[in-house]
């Protein structure tokens, strides 16, 4: 007769063993262990096992994984591609990778080599990794239901042709890209044919082309990101129903640079974003039924340039503050609504004190029209001649589109400026990669 206490203990042990069996085994990998390479561990692993990789440098070339596993790095192990190889190629239905430094992928003009490639996979998490000097860093291909979280990606792209994207999504669905810090690549985050996905809390800076780039992707949401000092800003192109909330677009300077480039975007909302110090805050072309609400445009060359084929867009409760030009509308006859914004250079008055200016405001100046037509005329900026020109046009508009007018300009600015992602998730030791040209710059942000 067994003591009840022993029975209890035995059952508890049995349950515990079952739990362990369900969770799978743990296979340890370290340079001195019986299993000294990751490829070997993966060969040995059964579905649901955990491969625990300890501190060390592993140069195993391209590691192919076709199992459902957890790959966990302890003490920041380094996977080195030696400059001529893709590193992890994963095809799995359940996968978790965490805690690695993946480096030296090497440029290739014929292969899109990646640090971590998920191929036709689902239910995966890519978390807390560092990817240094990658061609493509994280490449998701025909995958769905995944999370890419808290990774630090730093490339050393010098020319755009010779660099890939930090996070590249191609034919994906239901992906969350969250709290990553991306710098020194061609595009920070690139999405092509990606639906129902969310991009949030990321910082993309010092990338050669775009911080974020949507192509042919519908029903996506990006919010609370910061896009700073990228070659050409953020581009959202050929897509529908993209909601853009509370992002910060700043310091995108250059002849072909925009805070946000919208081309053939329809039925989208752009709310509570900040556009600070860009050559052009928003450039939009052939984009219909967009609403721009409570955005702040400050210290840009142009706050907004609206090119041809933009219909039924609504701009309201936005703040236009100290931009060289608030609006440039290139073509007349578009039925957009500009009522109810705050314009810092509004010179009207509010006698009845209802918070709304009593005279309409014409945000598009004649000089803005002239500069759009003849860019060289910018040298006349801030001259008396231009002031006279603008004033005469204001009195009797001839050249500027007649319907670009705010009938109810606000006397006070709308409160609430987007904060973006100011506290980057990844805690990275800046000394880890000394002498890197971009490290300093990328890590000065607190």
């Amino acid at each position: 007769m067994l003591h009840p206490h022993i029975i209890k203990t035995l059952t508890a042990t049995a349950f515990l063993m079952m739990a362990v069996a369900l969770q799978g085994r743990v296979i340890e990998v370290c340079p001195e262990c019986p299993v000294s390479s990751i490829s070997e561990a993966i060969e040995l692993a059964q579905p649901c096992d955990t491969v625990l990789v300890k501190k060390g440098t592993y140069s195993e070339g391209n590691i192919l994984i076709g199992k459902d596993l957890t790959l966990f790095g302890e003490g920041n192990p380094i996977l080195d591609g030696g400059g001529n190889s893709e590193i992890l190629t994963i095809h799995s239905q359940f996968f978790h990778i965490e805690g690695f430094t993946i480096q030296n992928i090497g440029t290739s003009y014929t292969q899109d080599r990646a640090g971590i490639r998920m191929k036709e996979s689902q239910n995966f998490t890519i978390k807390n990794n560092r990817l240094l000097d990658a061609f493509f860093a994280i490449y998701l291909e025909k995958s769905k239901d995944g999370v890419v979280e808290n990774n630090f990606v730093l490339g050393q792209a010098e020319n755009e042709a010779g660099s890939g994207n930090a996070i590249h999504l191609w034919y994906c669905e239901n992906i969350i890209v969250k709290d990553n810090h991306l710098a020194g690549h061609r595009d920070g985050i690139y999405l092509e044919f990606v639906d129902n996905s969310r991009v949030t809390g990321n910082i993309a800076e010092n990338n050669l082309r775009y911080g974020l780039h949507f192509m042919f992707s519908n029903d996506n949401f990006y919010h609370h990101n910061t896009f700073r000092n990228n070659g050409a800003g953020v581009a959202v192109m050929y897509s529908r129903r993209i909601d853009m909330f509370q992002n910060v677009f700043e310091k995108n300077w250059g002849a072909a640079s925009y805070g946000l480039l919208l081309k053939e975007i329809h039925d989208s909302r752009i709310e509570q974003n900040s556009f600070l110090e860009n050559t052009v805050g928003i450039f939009t072309e052939t984009s219909n039924r967009l609403t721009y609400v409570r955005n702040t445009f400050a210290h840009n060359g142009w706050a907004m340039k609206i090119s041809g084929g933009c219909q039924q867009n609504v701009l309201t409760q936005n703040n236009f503050m100290s931009n060289s030009f608030d609006l440039a509308v290139q073509i007349a006859g578009m039925d957009n609504n500009y009522d109810g914004n705050f314009w810092s250079d509004y010179s009207g008055y509010d006698l009845d004190r209802d918070g709304v200016g009593d005279v309409p405001h014409r945000p598009m100046k004649l000089f803005s029209y002239i500069v759009t037509r003849t860019p060289e005329s910018i040298v006349l900026m801030r001259s008396l001649f231009v002031d006279i020109l603008n004033f005469s046009e204001k009195v009797s508009p001839i050249f500027t589109p007649e319907n670009v007018v705010d009938h109810a300009p606000k006397m006070k600015q709308t409160s609430g400026i987007a904060q973006g992602a100011e506290t980057p998730g990844p805690k990275i030791d800046p000394a880890a990669k000394p002498g890197h040209s971009l490290t300093q710059n990328a890590l000065t942000i607190k």
Binding site: N159, E160, L208, A232, A256, K263
Partner: protein
């Protein structure tokens, strides 16, 4: 004689300013005349030079085709693309062969690449699959 030098120089300058000449693409800085994207991928860059000498650069052959469709009334002295395998120089778009293949993604989603000769296009098709076109049929197909 000396009196003639200045007018001659002026005429030469004027003539050189007006004669259409192709220009190199500054990758990473030039924007596509059609889609406004920065041009980055060398093998897919394309260029039109109007008979008045104005240069239009494109990030993809499909963008150039779209632009040609939208500007049918303009005359172009040069219609240039690059060979996918040797993308360093311009090729005449009209004499090139084209491949549309799911295995060769191009910047604007048409999966379109150019080859200097039909043999090269067919060779690529053997490796990657897809369909080969000449320039005229390509323009019809893209419409």
């Amino acid at each position: 004689m000396k009196k003639l030098i200045l007018p001659a120089v002026l005429i030469m300058l004027l003539a050189s300013a007006c004669s259409p000449t192709p220009q190199p693409v500054e990758f990473g800085a030039d924007a596509c005349a059609h889609c406004k994207m920065t041009i980055v991928e060398v093998p897919f860059a394309a260029e039109l030079v109007s008979s008045k000498g104005k240069v239009f650069k494109f990030d993809a052959i499909e963008c150039m085709a779209d632009y040609l469709k939208d500007h049918a009334e303009t005359e172009f002295a040069f219609q240039l693309v690059r060979d996918f395998n040797q993308p360093d120089d311009w090729q005449d778009a009209k004499t090139c062969s084209y491949l549309i293949s799911d295995e060769v993604p191009s910047p604007m989603g048409a999966y379109l690449s150019a080859y200097a000769t039909e043999a090269q296009a067919i060779q690529m098709r053997e490796a990657k699959g897809g369909q080969v076109f000449d320039w005229e049929n390509l323009l019809i197909y893209l419409k």
